[in-house]
């Protein structure tokens, strides 16, 4: 597959935002996880949400997917407020969305073919011959047409992620959410998955949101980055702007420095006291 040119990509970019996150707060009981998050995702863009472990990015991911409701604020997708939708409305919205889970979450009792065909069989009345052609086309897109008869247990981690990607795009979603798509992949699979995300976004004219802590891989493929730290947006901008940022948190994160605003040492008492040494 040839990479699309900038002009081709721009055809899919619309000034109208697909996802609007307005003043979103979320707390588990009295523990605040997200505090006043504002984001806008335009159609046709690839957006990264980054941050360290426990910063609240997975919570934000689940809020966008409609699996959680914000304690304050709203998330609008395609003009509809997610937490105001009933079960039927939420499922109607999810049919237009695709979610790629961290380790693929393929159905282990189904073959690769049946995994990719799953949504087509559940949500459409397409004849089996047409489903066959579509499944083969989706698998061809991720380069794994030859694996259609295999079971998920026979695939490597990287292949499982790519099959899951084929399953995610089965119904050509308008929005694709990726949860840590680069975790645990070898360098080749990493490139293949990263490349697939960018190419599929352009080919399908969709919007992609990548939740990740993999800085280097994300920088190569996304259009815009949001950094989350302690439940707030610590920084945002294009990859170039983030790379050049002089904010100490962003600098530490992007360059993987051991110590900085995120300290190496977990807060603790006197070291000497713990060792039983009197000074």
């Amino acid at each position: 597959m040839r990479a699309p040119t900038n002009e081709q990509e721009n055809l899919f970019v619309s000034p109208q935002p697909l996802v609007e996150i307005r003043d979103v707060n979320f707390a588990y009981g009295s523990r605040a996880i997200l505090k006043g998050i504002n984001m806008t995702f335009h159609k046709g863009k690839v957006i990264a949400i980054m941050g360290g472990s426990g910063c609240g990015k997975t919570t934000l991911f689940r809020l966008i997917a409609g699996a959680l409701s914000p304690t304050k604020g709203e998330i609008k997708i395609d003009g509809q407020v997610m937490h105001e939708l009933d079960q039927q409305g939420l499922y109607a919205m999810r049919r237009k969305m695709g979610v790629l889970f961290q380790f693929g979450a393929l159905f282990t009792d189904m073959s690769v073919y049946d995994n990719v065909a799953f949504q087509m069989r559940e949500h459409t009345d397409l004849p089996e011959e047409m489903i066959h052609d579509l499944v083969m086309m989706k698998l061809q897109t991720v380069g794994l047409r030859g694996t259609h008869a295999l079971m998920p247990s026979e695939l490597s981690g990287g292949m499982a992620r790519r099959v899951a990607l084929a399953r995610t795009i089965a119904l050509d979603p308008m929005l694709i959410l990726y949860d840590e798509p680069f975790t645990g992949l070898d360098p080749i699979s990493l490139t293949v998955v990263g490349d697939s995300i960018r190419r599929l976004n352009s080919a399908l004219g969709t919007t992609s949101v990548v939740v990740t802590h993999d800085v280097q891989e994300s920088m190569k493929l996304v259009d815009y980055i949001y950094f989350i730290s302690d439940g707030v947006i610590a920084a945002e901008g294009t990859p170039e702007e983030i790379q050049a940022s002089d904010k100490s948190f962003v600098h530490q994160f992007v360059h993987g420095e051991r110590d900085g605003p995120v300290p190496f040492h977990y807060p603790s008492g006197s070291y000497m006291q713990d060792l039983g040494v009197s000074v």
């Binding site: 997917a65 699996a67 939420l90 499922y91 109607a92 999810r94 049919r95 969305m97 979610v99 889970f101 961290q102 380790f103 979450a105 393929l106 159905f107 282990t108 799953f118 949504q119 559940e122 949500h123």
Partner: protein
Amino acid sequence: MALVNSVRKIGHRVIEAIWRIGYATHFFVLILLNSGSSFRRFRLTVKELFFTGVMSLIIILVAGLFVGVVLGLQGYEILKRYGSESALGTLVALSLLRELGPVLAALLFAGRAGSAMTAEIGLMKASEQLAAMDMMAVSPIARVVAPRFWAGVISMPILATIFSVMGVFGGYLVGVVYIGVDEGSFWSQMQGSVEFQHDVMNGVFKSFIFGIAVTVISLFEGFDAPPTAEGVSRATTRTVVQSSLIILLLDVVLTALMFRGN
């Protein structure tokens, strides 16, 4: 202070237990409400019937035969004292149809199929398969849980009946073929004393209720299991322990209602 802590702990446990019962009841109602596709797309239920019912056949057949053989031997020993060896067929058949068939088949079903259901659903949850399904706008309750529930409810009475039939055959083998009890009186006494409605159907009804209880517990424990190896392992153990206790408790209640000294 220690006393206050103990009371607090007991209180917590009671509240948690009540909460779980409420949650399980809500889960059961959800299964019933989402059962449409289990019948509209009956092949989903048939697939589960194979895993829960057909795959449990060997253990049910063998256990039924052995229990029948033991019943035949023990029953003959006791009946001989009263000169009633010819009533062996009645003893074997009534013991199996009313009690041993439904109860033992349900206990074996909980150990074989119930634990497998809990582990499967628990692992599907741990590997985010249920979440993925929900994100694809397919209800995991309707697609995964309900077909397994109906497969369990349908297969349990059939397995209990097969258990009883094998048991009667075991009693026949040991009583008639091995010991030499008169074959005619073995079968005719059995035929004369076993009532279809009172004995056979009550036994089938019992196993139907056991089927509901075991399957709901197994599915709920899997669905509610913490998504870790330890969580799934504990849930599987809880399934077997709780199912066994509930089967025995329900048996006491149902027997008291069905056979009040009649």
